[in-house]
């Protein structure tokens, strides 16, 4: 079982990997670790209680996997975006519309996270883009370990291009799990409440970009766009905001421009690191 994701023990599946967890056995927790000590060496009452300093982040092992992923992605010149939202925000629709516009220009790949079914990965593959589905079983989020295995499965499919990671639809749990992405993008549809940034502050705080989707429906709704943006900026003064409709295509250019700018920034950062190193 993955050390970072206890909530899906034995139920996580990465498409194409029969035993997705066998590569990192040395990182895995030993359920029977206490049996490795000297057998029966302990005489009750003779060894006094002692304190053991730990000072370890509980998510440290996830963060270590995330760092590995980030280094591998940067090395391959892949811009990785972690897309998070509540279920039904239109993430997959936005993604397929994005892929259709970029696929002739850039190498692309998608990692799809859902509790069950490969429906979304199939929707992605219909665009001709390589996709790997991760089913988290009972789990509520993707973690860096699962994503590492999905990257193995994808090979270099997005080298020099863009990898989209569609996280499990959930505005709470994915906030705490770094996957090794370059940017986290939170997607909020205008059919949801404009106070969602205040209700789920951790997610909006951890994101670099907020995309308001389904804006073609605004004339029929009471959704206050400016109030929503103000709420998001209260949580995260640095957050960028885009408004678009994947259905009509309005605003899609701004999103593609943002991706292009993010790619240019990552490439420049890579060149600087190389020059220093």
């Amino acid at each position: 079982m993955c050390t970072t994701c206890g909530c899906a023990s034995g139920e996580v599946t990465v498409e194409g990997q029969a035993h997705p967890h066998h590569h990192h056995d040395h990182h895995h927790r030993h359920r029977h670790a206490h049996a490795h000590g000297p057998a029966h060496a302990h005489a009750p009452g003779l060894s006094p209680a002692r304190m053991v300093e730990i000072e370890q982040d509980i998510l440290a092992s996830n963060d270590a996997y995330a760092a590995e992923n980030r280094a591998a992605l940067a090395g391959a010149g892949t811009l990785a975006l972690n897309l998070v939202s509540s279920p039904g925000s239109g993430k997959t629709t936005l993604l397929t519309a994005t892929l259709a516009r970029l696929r002739d220009r850039l190498p692309l790949a998608v990692i799809e996270g859902d509790q069950q079914t490969a429906n979304d990965a199939e929707r992605i593959r219909e665009t001709g883009v390589r996709a790997v589905q991760i089913n988290t079983g009972k789990g509520c989020h993707l973690d860096a370990h699962m994503v590492g295995h999905a990257l193995e499965e994808l090979g270099g499919a997005a080298a020099g291009g863009v990898l989209f990671i569609e996280n499990v639809g959930n505005l709470v749990c994915p906030a705490g799990f770094d996957l090794g992405e370059a940017h986290r993008v939170v997607i909020l549809s205008v059919t949801e409440g404009e106070d969602k940034p205040l209700k789920y502050p951790d997610m909006f705080h951890a994101s670099d970009l907020m995309i308001l989707t389904k804006t073609d429906l605004l004339p029929h709704l009471d959704f206050d766009v400016e109030a929503c943006i103000a709420h998001a900026r209260r949580i995260n003064p640095r957050i960028n905001v885009l408004k678009l409709s994947a259905r009509t295509g309005e605003g899609m250019e701004g999103w593609l421009d943002w991706i292009e700018a993010a790619r240019a920034m990552q490439a420049a950062a890579g060149r600087m690191a190389q020059a220093e190193g």
């Binding site: 927790r29 670790a33 304190m51 730990i54 370890q56 509980i58 749990c173 705490g176």
Partner: protein, 113 residues
């Protein structure tokens, strides 16, 4: 957030440490959990008992230390304390406040036999 999986991670660290530091029973676990860590401490306590049952930490007391939420107010150019992410600076009322601490999620130490 998924307190059950957090407890599984805590137990994993404890079991690794048990091998490295040669102990066989844990009587107390001290955690440092900031108010912004996204962890419900009551749910964590409940999960901790369930996850550690039959393990090296079975019956261990769980002590949770909550550090304050600290922030840097840009207009004041000073460190301040706030309660939540969207709170304004308590001195000047500005929202140009960068959170600097309060999202800790750490195992501090263990009392072991």
């Amino acid at each position: 957030m998924h307190e059950m999986s957090i407890c599984e991670s805590i137990l994993a660290v404890i079991e690794q440490q048990a091998v490295a530091q040669r102990f066989r029973k844990v009587s107390r676990v001290r955690l440092e959990i900031g108010p912004l860590a996204g962890v419900e401490t009551e749910a964590l306590r409940f999960s901790f008992d369930a996850v550690t049952r039959g393990s090296i930490a079975d019956g261990a007391a769980l002590e949770i230390i909550a550090p304050p939420v600290t922030a840097w107010c840009m207009p004041c150019a000073e460190a301040v304390e706030v309660a939540q992410r969207y709170d304004p600076c308590p001195r000047c009322g500005s929202h140009q406040v960068q959170i600097t601490g309060g999202d800790e999620l750490r195992i501090k130490d263990l009392e072991v036999d």
